[in-house]
Homo-oligomer: 229 residues x 2
C-alpha cells in the first residue's frame, strides 16, 4: 500500500514533468518567433557579412537565443520528453549541448565582429561579463560531463555520485545564460522608445525566455523528484 | 559500516554547507559596501526626501540590495548557519523575509517617486517587469509559506509534502530577484562611460550579487543533500 502510493505519486510527478516539458517546447517556439520578428522588423535584419554594424550585431541575439539558450534547454529536456533508451538520450544530450556551444562561440564572435565594425570596446558591459562567464562555465561543465559520463574508465559509482552535481551545475549554468539574455535585452532595449512597440516586444521576449528557463528548471526538479526514494 | 559511511558523508556535506554559507556572508558584506561606495561616490548620495531626482532614485538600488536581496539570502541561510532550535529558526526565517518584503515595497516606492520627480513613465522597462514579478511572487510565496508552516491547523504530513516545493519555489523567487538586480545594474550602468571606473564598479557589484546568489543556492542544495537518504 505504502509502496503503491509512492509509485503512484512518482508516476503522477512524471506525467506532470512531461506536461511541463511540452509547455517548455511551446515557449521555445514563441520565443524564437518573437526574437526573429524583433530582429527583422525593428532592427534591420541579420547578416554576419554585412557592412552595416547593426546587421552584424543582430547575429548575436539570434544565435544566442535560437542556438545557445533554447538548444541547451532542449538538451536538458531530452531525458523527460524523448522516448528512447538511456544511452541514446545521453548521446542526444551530449551532442545537442556540443552544437549549442559551437553556436554560442559563433554568437560571441558576432558580438566581437560588431564591436570591431562599430569601433566599440570589447567586454566592458556587465552583460558581456555574465555572458563570457556563462559560456566558459558551460564549456567546463561539458568537458567534465564528457570525462565523467562518456570516458569508458569511469566507475558506475563515480557516475552515480557525480550525477546530482552535474544536474545542479548544469541547471545553474543554464540559468546564468538566461540571466545573460535578460541583461542583453535590457542593454539593447535602452535605444528603443520606452513604452513603445519595440520596447514592449523586447520585454515580452525577455519574459518568455525567463518562463522558458523556469519551466526547464521545473522539469528538472520534477524529474529528480521521481528518481528519489 | 554502510550507515556509518552515509552519516559520515552527510556530516561532510553539512560542514561544506556551513563553510559555503560563511562565504555567502562575506559576499554579502563586500556587495553591500560596493553598492554604498557606488551610490555615495559616483551617484551623488541617497535621500528619499531630496529635490534631486537622482538622490531619490538612489534609494531604490540601496534598499533593494541591502534590504531585499541580501536579507532574503540571509533568511534562507538561517537554517544552515544559526545554531538554535527549529522553531526559532523558522521564526527568524519568516520575520527576516517579512522585513525584506517591507523594504522591497519601499524600494519600489522609491522608483515610482523618482519617475514622478523626473517625469518619466512607470513600469516600461524589462527590469521593472522582472522586478515587479519577483516582489509579487515573493509576497505570494511568503503568504503560502505562512499559511502552510505557521497556521496551527496544517497537518504535519502536509507540511512535509509542501517543504520541498517551498524550498524550490523560494530559491526560484530569490534567483529571479538576483536577475532583476543584474538588469537594473545594466540599465543604470548605460549612463556610465564604458570601461571607466564607475562602469567597472557597477559590473563588479553585479558579479558579487551573482556570486552571492550562487552561494546561497549552493548552500540550499547541499543542505537538502544532507537530509535525503
Amino acid at each position: 500500500m505504502a509502496i503503491g502510493g509512492i509509485i503512484g505519486s512518482h508516476q503522477r510527478h512524471s506525467v506532470v514533468a512531461s506536461r511541463v516539458a511540452m509547455f517548455a517546447h511551446l515557449l521555445f517556439l514563441v520565443t524564437a518567433v518573437l526574437m526573429l520578428v524583433w530582429l527583422l522588423r525593428f532592427r534591420g535584419g541579420i547578416n554576419i557579412q554585412s557592412e552595416d554594424p547593426d546587421q552584424i550585431f543582430n547575429v548575436h541575439p539570434f544565435v544566442m537565443s535560437w542556438g545557445f539558450i533554447l538548444l541547451i534547454g532542449e538538451a536538458i529536456l531530452v531525458y523527460t520528453t524523448v522516448p528512447m533508451n538511456h544511452r541514446a538520450q545521453k548521446m542526444v544530450h551530449m551532442l545537442v549541448h556540443m552544437v549549442a556551444f559551437i553556436l554560442g562561440v559563433f554568437g560571441v564572435y558576432a558580438a566581437f565582429k560588431f564591436h570591431n565594425a562599430a569601433v566599440a570596446p570589447d567586454l566592458v558591459s556587465l552583460h558581456s561579463w555574465i555572458g563570457i562567464g556563462a559560456i566558459s562555465l558551460f564549456a567546463l561543465q561539458w568537458l567534465i560531463g564528457f570525462a565523467v559520463f562518456w570516458m569508458p574508465g569511469t566507475h558506475e559509482h563515480t557516475r552515480a555520485a557525480a550525477a546530482p552535481l552535474h544536474v545542479a551545475g548544469g541547471l545553474a549554468v543554464f540559468l546564468l545564460a538566461v540571466c545573460a539574455a535578460q541583461t542583453g535585452l535590457v542593454q539593447k532595449g535602452a535605444s528603443a522608445t520606452p513604452g513603445g512597440t519595440e520596447a514592449n516586444l523586447i520585454n515580452v521576449t525577455g519574459v518568455f525566455i525567463l518562463l522558458y528557463g523556469a519551466t526547464v528548471a521545473a522539469t528538472v526538479v520534477l524529474r529528480m523528484a521521481t528518481r528519489h526514494v
